[in-house]
């Protein structure tokens, strides 16, 4: 499927643009990655004793996979609300530069801020990547409608995946249930590794994994934050050292 040319009459109706956005979810491998990831999140929610409604609400209103697994894992292992909220807040800071860089692609001189609220809510790593890929092929005045369609499609896929994963975890044998749960660490590990372009990202990923078991031994209840801040700061130090000696 190719999008119609920029001057095509197909783009005259915002609803048509929405439909083209919706259809574009079939044009990317990331839709499958998201499906698998949210299948895992649904299963994880089940095995950590959250309800299906809770899992669906987290997908709809949080709409950030990393934040959702941090939330489920920390709350499920007995962290306090404050500890979970801090870990999620830190993980979510990455949304800020994403929103900052993606919204200008949709803005026209007459666009009002409130027209961009849904687009800002839908912004997460997948949408951010796809916007940079698709939006140059969409007329500027139809881009918001296109992104609404794309985002609506992706959220719908993830809600279905959550539901399927939740029921699979409830009904499968232990081995297959374990296989579904293993999807979460595998898909996050490899998608994060794939998105790591700079040395700081790679060091943060590797050290974050290695330092967590050490931090967990301290049993402070803040394990994730301790290992995250330590590994992240060392990674930043490596980045800084390379800049200075470049």
């Amino acid at each position: 499927m190719a999008l119609p040319p920029l001057d095509s009459p197909q783009w005259q109706s915002p609803w048509r643009a929405f439909a083209w956005g919706l259809r574009s979810i079939t044009q990317t491998i990331l839709t499958i990655v998201l499906f698998v990831t949210y299948l895992g999140i649904g299963a994880l929610a089940h095995d950590t004793h959250f309800s299906l409604l809770w899992a669906l609400a987290s997908t709809l209103f949080v709409w950030a996979g990393p934040a959702q697994i941090i939330l489920i894992t920390t709350l499920g292992s007995g962290a306090t609300i404050i500890q979970s909220a801090i870990a999620v807040t830190v993980s979510a800071i990455r949304l800020f530069p994403m929103v900052v860089s993606v919204l200008p692609l949709m803005r026209t001189p007459t666009t009002k801020r409130r027209e961009l609220i849904f687009a800002a809510h839908l912004t997460a790593v997948t949408l951010w990547v796809e916007c940079h890929r698709f939006l140059p092929q969409v007329p500027r005045e139809r881009r918001i409608a296109f992104v609404h369609g794309l985002g609506f499609g992706l959220v719908s896929v993830c809600l279905c995946a959550n539901t399927v994963g939740y029921f699979l975890a409830a009904n499968l044998t232990q081995t297959l249930g374990g296989a579904i749960l293993l999807l979460t660490p595998l898909s996050f590990l490899f998608s994060t590794a794939r998105n790591s372009r700079e040395i700081a990202d790679v060091v943060a990923l590797v050290l974050g994994i290695v330092l967590y078991p050490l931090a967990a031994k301290m049993n402070s209840g803040l394990d994730i934050l301790v290992s995250g801040v330590a590994a992240g700061t060392i990674a930043y130090g490596v980045h800084w050292w390379r800049e200075v000696h470049a």
Partner: protein, 116 residues
Amino acid sequence: MTIVQLIGDWHALAVLFVAGVIPNQIWRMLGLWFGGGIDEGSELLVWVRAVATAILAGVIAQIVVEPPGALASVPDGLRYGAVGAGLVAFLLTRRSIFAGVVTGEVFMLAGKWWLG
């Protein structure tokens, strides 16, 4: 499974809102409001991104090291082996997420079957 179990309790949903929804929407709405003057490559954002990546890495490690639910039925060595096998496939295929995930899963299931 009953309807009540599927809906859960209001307390858990309130926790979701406080610890999940607000911490995410704050950053998106700040991006919407103050988007103009931020340099994406600024040093502070490099540090923030590194810490955010490391926190996610820690959670990935936590799920594998202290597995929840059914994953706990898979022996330690098999879980680590599955992640390792997936990583090798990921690197050999020039960073294919799909190859990494499938290899990890197959390794784990084959190991379970082999161990009986």
